[in-house]
């Protein structure tokens, strides 16, 4: 049904044409450079869109207008102007910091976020890294990020950054468990770890409808834990402005700081993207059983639009949460995870397994 929008034959055709024109290693080199440039451009464009969206959503929730001066009435050029501004700021290196680790931390943070970013299924046949252990690789790669945060906080030799990093480390590793368990629940439902196959499993109904109550609970747990993973309010105590100035990146200036900011916003998008892949059908269109005409019209919309649209919907949900709830204390955050979310996600896991084994899912 979706062959019309399948990108795989097109990409295969491009590859075979290139191999016919030049030796194979050269073709692979050119393709590699093209993929690299594509990732960088997507990364920058998405970061700009997300930051602009965050500002406008935040303004709407606080009854303000938001950016409206730079670049016409909508303030469309505000974020590009900020990018130029951040590039022209001095990069300060501290006197007593651990220079090597201080420089290494942004690499780890950006690497974690780009590795997970390239696993997102944009369309049928349209993902950069296609692995049979896709979702497991996403979990593994995203845990590199916490290393970068801990290194950044520890190496800058400042009390604020140290406290911010330790808080953030404890929080992120705790919430990683709930993310892992809710992903595990969905792997049990789909019976595969391949991201494209997980999406293909949802062809006749998204997982959130297929899995009854356990899938819905896993989705809510994933959203809460994902919000904590992305270091956003109400779990933003790693960089609680009123107590720790900027948390683990207090001592980073200019573009050095920019990497953490970039990674934070892209992690928001990635969290939403993985939620969409696992629960809301990835690039699959919305189908309502019985409405044939409606389903046919929905099939004409390309998969990439479905994926990006759903992802931005989940991003909006996360922003809504961020600008609505007050910040928690560190003990409340850890107790919420260990005493409530963790037993709940284990329970959801058990219910889902029993349902799957006895064939009670759709």
């Amino acid at each position: 049904m979706f062959d019309y929008y399948n990108l795989e034959p097109v990409l295969m055709w491009i590859h075979s044409t290139m191999c016919g024109l030049m030796p194979e290693w050269l073709a692979f080199t050119i393709e590699g450079i093209a993929v690299g440039i594509f990732i960088m451009v997507m990364y920058a464009v998405l970061a700009i869109i997300l930051i602009y969206m965050e500002r406008k959503v935040c303004a709407a929730f606080q009854c303000r207008i938001g950016p409206d001066r730079v670049g016409g009435r909508g303030g469309l050029l505000q974020v590009p102007a900020d990018v130029i501004k951040i590039l022209t700021k001095e990069i300060i290196s501290l006197k007593n910091s651990d220079k090597f680790l201080y420089a290494l931390a942004p690499f780890l943070v950006i690497m974690a976020s780009i590795l997970t970013f390239s696993c997102l299924p944009w369309n049928k046949g349209g993902e950069i890294l296609h692995m049979n252990i896709g979702i497991f690789f996403v979990l593994a790669a995203s845990s590199i990020g916490v290393l970068g945060i801990l290194l950044a906080g520890w190496s800058s030799n400042s009390k604020y950054t140290l406290i911010g990093a330790v808080r953030s480390g404890a929080m992120i590793i705790s919430y990683e468990l709930s993310i892992g368990l809710s992903v595990l629940t969905m792997v049990i439902l789909c019976g595969t770890m391949d991201i494209q196959e997980i999406v293909a499993y949802q062809e006749n109904g998204w997982n959130i409808f297929k899995g009854h109550l356990p899938a819905l609970m896993a989705f809510v747990i994933y959203l809460i834990a994902g919000n904590a993973e992305a270091n956003r309010a109400p779990f933003d105590l790693a960089e609680a402005e009123q107590e720790l100035t900027a948390g683990y990146h207090t001592e980073y200036s200019g573009m050095h700081f920019g990497f953490f900011y970039l990674a934070e916003y892209l992690n928001l998008f990635i969290t939403a993207g993985i939620a969409v892949t696992l629960f809301l059908g990835g690039w699959m269109p919305l189908h309502i059983a019985g409405l044939e005409g409606f389903n046919t019209i929905m099939d004409y919309i390309p998969g990439v639009i479905w994926f990006v649209g759903k992802t931005f919907f989940v991003v909006f949900l996360l922003m809504w949460i961020r600008w609505t709830f007050p910040r928690l204390r560190i003990d409340q955050v850890l107790i919420l995870e260990w005493k409530y979310l963790m037993p709940l996600s284990l329970l959801v896991l058990v219910i889902m397994t029993v349902m799957k084994v006895f064939g009670l899912v759709f």
């Binding site: 007593n96 690499f107 690497m111 140290l162 330790v166 590793i173 573009m255 107790i335 896991l349």
Partner: protein, 116 residues
């Protein structure tokens, strides 16, 4: 095949950071001032060591995390085949998860999850 793209993606991440840092180094101003090398503490000079001791509670949570993270890693291959192997795999994993839940209950009872 996808290992080539894995290397490409890792190189892209490194290239992104290096390129942005190079641009920033080229166009950013530079000036020296001994005050800039000090850690920022809202204007007050730092007292004592900056690498201070912090709560052991964080360490406790990290150890608990290790236990459950490895559990998740072990359960992933099981999750793929559980639908085919049926009740037998279900009982095996139930035993495994049961022991871990006992571990969590023990930590809870001992007060490892309290923030003191």
């Amino acid at each position: 095949m996808y290992f080539i793209f894995l290397i490409v993606v890792i190189l892209t991440a490194i290239a992104l950071v290096v390129a942005a840092m190079t641009i920033a180094k080229l166009i950013a101003p530079r000036s020296f001032n001994p005050q800039k090398g000090e850690p920022y503490e809202c204007g007050i000079p730092t007292r004592g060591e900056s690498w201070v001791k912090f709560k052991a509670g964080y360490y406790l949570f990290a150890i608990l995390f290790l236990m459950f993270d490895i559990e998740t890693v072990f359960l992933f291959p099981w999750a793929v085949v559980v639908a085919q192997t049926g009740v037998y795999a279900l009982c095996g994993a139930a035993f495994f998860v049961g022991i871990l839940i006992l571990g969590l209950a023990y930590a809870w009872r001992k007060g490892a999850l309290e923030w003191k």
